[in-house]
Subunit: 342 residues, 2 copies
DNA sequence: CTGAAAGCGCTTACAG
DNA sequence: CTGAAAGCGCTTACAG
């Protein structure tokens, strides 16, 4: 007997001399199949390289065994500009999905496009993971829509009160506080902050608040002139630091809202003949792989991406299973390297 | 009329007072539907936020509208160690898929695991894109299996004669040649190569061959003692350069098989008190985003990831459509920066 | 322990 | 231009 095209469970059934449902049961490990029958079926299935058709089983079961990962980044002109931190998250999310037998569908979406719930509505995914340092105030409306439509989703971001849906994020405030304390302990007094510190970017805002709290505790105040907006790219960090230098601002340290910003800032400092850390100490946030490989190594705040990915996936699976899942904050950890003289 | 759960085409049909197939036709833009009927159906569909159930339509049409992207990297202990170059490819592949209305399923696989054709056999994907600097000789057997099973796939890699399946790669030989010529023109005579140069890694081997050809053309010879194996990580580059330095090797330039290796090597040189480019010139390969942001900027060979992603997707879609598709090589472009004194 | 039956939500000939 | 019918390949009550 020759089978044209991919084998189906009916083909296996004919070959094994049983009914098609029995094949299905055997393949799914149902206890209601005799060991002998199961063995025969599995052997044939293996020989034919049979794989259950996911479209059929998903249709029947009304679920997909797939999660969708959506990046909602600022419109980026070039493909290469994905933040390495998120790519590290991507790795751990992929792994967490695989461990639980879920596939991962990914998509890089503009904040502006009309993706909301598309993946779930079309049954392509059972739930959605949102990742990205986008403008929170713009994203908020869409998150609200998702909640109203009953879409299952979790997002990586500042886990603050009053947000729609489930957010998993690290303790940005504590991280900023730690960096502030550290820089102050190294003798820095005028600490510039590179990154948006408004409610548009709650994570950066929290980091800035942590820094400001450290300054206040030391009897100092955060100087608004030393805060320069920057999105999360080396280029933005380079430009922000350059602007600060050309504006004649005086500072002895830079706390960048992300490592990419910090690396761009270090380049600008270098080009202006300033030494790191002798003239200006620099600290970042994220601990991307390259943070330890720039010269000098970059002091930064590590976010545990492995843990983050696991929690994101587990929280989403809980939502899908109809269980409760709340927002959570994971710890941040200061990592000392040469850029602050450590 | 209230609908429980997600609306189906049958719900729309009832509401519009037509049959269910007519709804399907209208939604798919069939010309065999009167404008008036179509308008009514589309309005209702929009209002109910109806989306075609992909599982059902895929089952019916026997295709998935999805491509699978599989990374087959060396077993990596930590999630963060994905080569930024591939992540850049990931971005362009995602975009190319989206433009053509295909979804992208991704998976990070070990070379050792038993994924071959799993995605396609289970109808989860119509075809597979393979990405990774794995050991080619190990991968080869699996590629051969894929070809035999009739799986549609394309891979990024050295497009050399005699390989199973379709390979898309850049002109590694020309890139290595360009780097060699450039370093020689800067006065370098003893050029170390960091990276495996055996047939296990044909891309690296080609880069090395290019370098060797440049040396030969200048009346010099490649010194085997100056070639040190290294996989594509900063750590490996750091270790390879350190080994070279501690072994007392004399060299005035380093050509790293990838930017990550180069960045690790630069750190090692720095720690040994050697200046780049004054004491040792350094060049890499890939032009990852950070290459321009390390200090000094890294001279490297750019592979056009946008074009690569587009060609990979187009070639795969051609295979899926039953058309012929062959291996292709895309140009490499030397990018000069401070690390070679440019 | 196994089989006959129904049905998941679509798409596509086949009639009219 | 539209509808009735069949069927994609599964899974899961329901009988026995």
């Amino acid at each position: 007997m020759t089978i044209k095209g991919k084998p189906t469970s009916l083909d296996i059934a004919h070959l094994a001399g049983v009914s098609q449902p029995t094949v299905s049961r055997a393949l799914r490990g149902s206890p209601m199949v005799s060991p002998e029958t199961r063995r025969r079926i599995l052997a044939i299935a293996r020989e034919l390289n049979y794989k259950v058709d996911k479209n059929a089983s998903n249709l029947r079961c009304q679920q997909s065994g797939t999660l969708a990962l959506l990046f909602f980044e600022e419109p980026a002109p070039d493909d290469a500009s994905i933040n390495p931190f998120f790519l590290s998250m991507l790795g751990s999310i992929t792994r967490a999905c695989a461990q639980r037998g879920f596939d991962l569908l990914i998509s890089f979406q503009q904040l502006s496009s009309d993706w909301h719930a598309d993946y779930e509505d079309s049954h392509k995914a059972d739930g959605i993971i949102l990742l990205g340092y986008g403008d929170y105030l713009e994203a908020r409306t869409r998150l609200q829509q998702l909640v109203e439509q009953g879409t299952r989703f979790v997002r990586w971001g500042a886990a603050l009160p009053g947000q729609p849906g489930v957010s998993i994020g690290c303790d940005n405030y504590q991280g900023g506080l730690d960096v502030g304390h550290h820089l102050l302990a190294r003798g820095c007094r005028r600490i510039a902050f590179l990154g948006d510190a408004s409610e548009h970017y709650p994570e950066f805002q929290e980091r800035y608040r942590g820094l400001a709290a450290a300054l206040t505790a030391a009897g100092l105040a955060a100087d608004p002139d030393l805060q320069v907006d920057a999105v999360t790219t080396e280029q933005a960090g380079f430009e922000a630091a350059t602007a600060l230098l050309q504006g004649g601002a005086e500072f002895d340290a830079v706390f960048a809202a992300s490592d990419l910003i910090a690396i761009g800032a270090m380049k600008a400092l270098h080009e202006h003949g300033l030494r790191v850390p002798e003239d200006v100490a620099v600290a970042g946030f994220d601990d991307i792989p390259l943070a330890s490989f720039v010269t000098p190594g970059l002091t930064t705040v590590q976010q545990d991406t492995r843990q983050a990915g696991t929690i994101l996936v587990e929280s989403l699976l809980a939502l899908i299973a109809g269980e409760a899942a709340g927002s959570r904050t994971i710890p941040a950890r200061l990592v000392l390297r040469g850029s602050t003289g450590a």
